[in-house]
Symmetry: C2
Subunit: 327 residues, 2 copies
């Protein structure tokens, strides 16, 4: 920059202003500086700017996995809504593990992000301490956290799952099983499991049987393997409540291989309104949670926050049952 300034016969400050489109620089001077810079191949170093202004222009985001159409969609909603704000995303995947999340947060914080967006409402004490030690806007999304760190955008997994159970009850199903990841790792899955159990109890149905489909993240292959493990015995249930659409799709495929009729022999429901649920034949009954909408709401909240506007502590997006042909 000094070289450009010298060559253009001005001070570095004027060059800096010329690049920031500061209107206090005369159009003529700006043009001269820009031309000189182009000619010299000068490229502006936003690292130095970030350093001096102590504004990194980074937004740190953690997702359980990017290899999940739902979370990817949320991320897209977030990035697209924030496009033009000049924010650069720093993305990290926790692999559904809070310990990994802590490590990730620690790493992300060294980059001085201007805000932190976490998926989920469960965190290690270490993560909480790291965040508490800084004065940093935090948004938790997807889950509505029991003990919020800052702002939250999401829905109640338990309530959403209750919609499914109610629907199954209304269509005469009684012997329900929940298929999801083993206890522990996936808090969203655990909440859905608990929500299904609670709603069944409330409706006076028999207890929901909990089937462990493996370690999180559970996906299509886990859904298929779970049904295949039971074989024809899976008919001891009359509905499989799957923790997500991919699991439901796997279960559906396995049923087809076993010669079981869905939904006549067995109802299957998913969660998340993934594309596969819509396109599958038969179409899978699912819950739309507005994955994209969550991202957009987070973006809106952050925008307001950066503008200094007051923002609500919590935004609830509505979950909606989408009835397919598997129930």
């Amino acid at each position: 920059m000094r070289d450009v300034a010298r060559a253009a016969g001005v001070s570095t400050m004027t060059v800096s202003r010329a690049f920031k489109d500061d209107r206090s620089v005369s159009a003529e001077t700006r043009a001269r500086i820009r031309a000189q810079a182009d000619q010299m191949g000068y490229i502006y170093d936003s690292l130095a700017t970030a350093f001096r202004t102590q504004k990194s222009g980074f937004l740190a985001v953690t997702l359980p996995s990017i290899n999940n159409a739902n979370f990817a969609e949320t991320y897209r909603g977030l990035t697209q809504a924030l496009e033009g704000s000049g924010m650069q995303m720093l993305l990290g995947a926790t692999g559904y593990r809070v310990e990994k999340e802590e490590e990730l947060v620690r790493q992300l914080l060294t980059r001085n992000p201007e805000a932190l967006v976490l998926t989920g409402g469960h965190h290690t004490v270490g993560t909480r301490d790291l965040i508490a030690a800084r004065d940093l806007p935090v948004v938790e999304m997807w889950d509505l956290p029991f003990r919020p760190l800052g702002h939250a955008v999401g829905f109640s997994n338990a309530d959403a799952m209750a919609l499914v159970v109610r629907h199954l009850a209304e269509t005469g199903r009684k012997r329900l099983a929940f298929v999801g990841a083993a206890e522990g790792a996936d808090s969203r899955g655990a909440e859905r499991r608990a929500g299904a159990a609670a709603e069944a109890r409330r409706l006076g149905l028999p207890d929901v049987v909990s089937i462990d489909a493996g370690e999180a993240p559970v996906s299509m292959r886990h859904g298929a393997a779970t049904v295949e493990r039971f074989g024809i015995e899976i008919r001891q249930f009359d509905a499989l409540i799957c923790v997500s659409d991919p699991v439901a799709f796997g279960a559906l495929s396995a049923c087809r291989r076993l010669g079981l009729a869905v939904p006549d022999d067995l109802a299957i429901s998913g969660f998340g309104n993934f594309e596969v649920a819509q396109i599958s034949e038969p179409q899978i009954t699912t819950v739309d949670v507005g994955a994209r909408r969550i991202g957009e709401e987070v973006a809106g909240l952050l925008d307001a926050l950066f503008s200094g506007d007051t923002v609500p502590d919590q935004i609830t997006v509505a979950a909606k049952l989408i009835r397919g042909a598997t129930t």
Copy 2:
């Protein structure tokens, strides 16, 4: 850092050394400093480090979309293999458009990444100029570029698709159609289309009919919509070569709705070995391109590059036909 130094009774330089595991700091002093820092919730500012050392610790990566299990898997392979190297990914999605890629590259370059990883081998002149103006390691992945910018890790889309055509020919299919995105946007899709056409010609088959499934990215719904548009008339073909597994899955579902038997009435092939191809019933014939492997190879190449080792200009990963029950 000054505060930590003061509290620990040492200079900032010693604190800096303690955090870098510099062995010239006595173990005792390091422990004291670390403890003091933890207690004070101090996190070192890697922005300042990046600034002073002129090494950003960033690796810029562009993907067409993160909402694609194949690219997401490559990204995972890359990040996991680079974990521990202290590199932080800067991820951007091009939406399958080279103009958007240019904008993205411009933005990413202001962050001073230490290397740039691009998906695909087709770029705007502007992108090429931006890169040429800097002395920056570049890796193109997935496609093997015709005019490489630097290093490349990938496979030949045309050759991979030829495997599919050969397989279809061997199983007696003659009236082939290729289902993919409209011409232009998706270069990988275009190469697959061209590869299929070339191989059919080579084998003396009738010309492959090209069916436009919509704007990239094409996915399940496009596959389904394409078949539904033809209705039963889709039987004028005896094999649908789909640009990707999601498209193939959509086509398969639509066939089921139409009452068409796959593969008896119509063969369907996909591409990419997505989970849905494996779990679908019937399992979809596809091509495994080692999406994860690509990411790992890129990571290995970068590692070597950063260590100053010599590295090959190009690494070819093998594409493999996986025969399912749809052909």
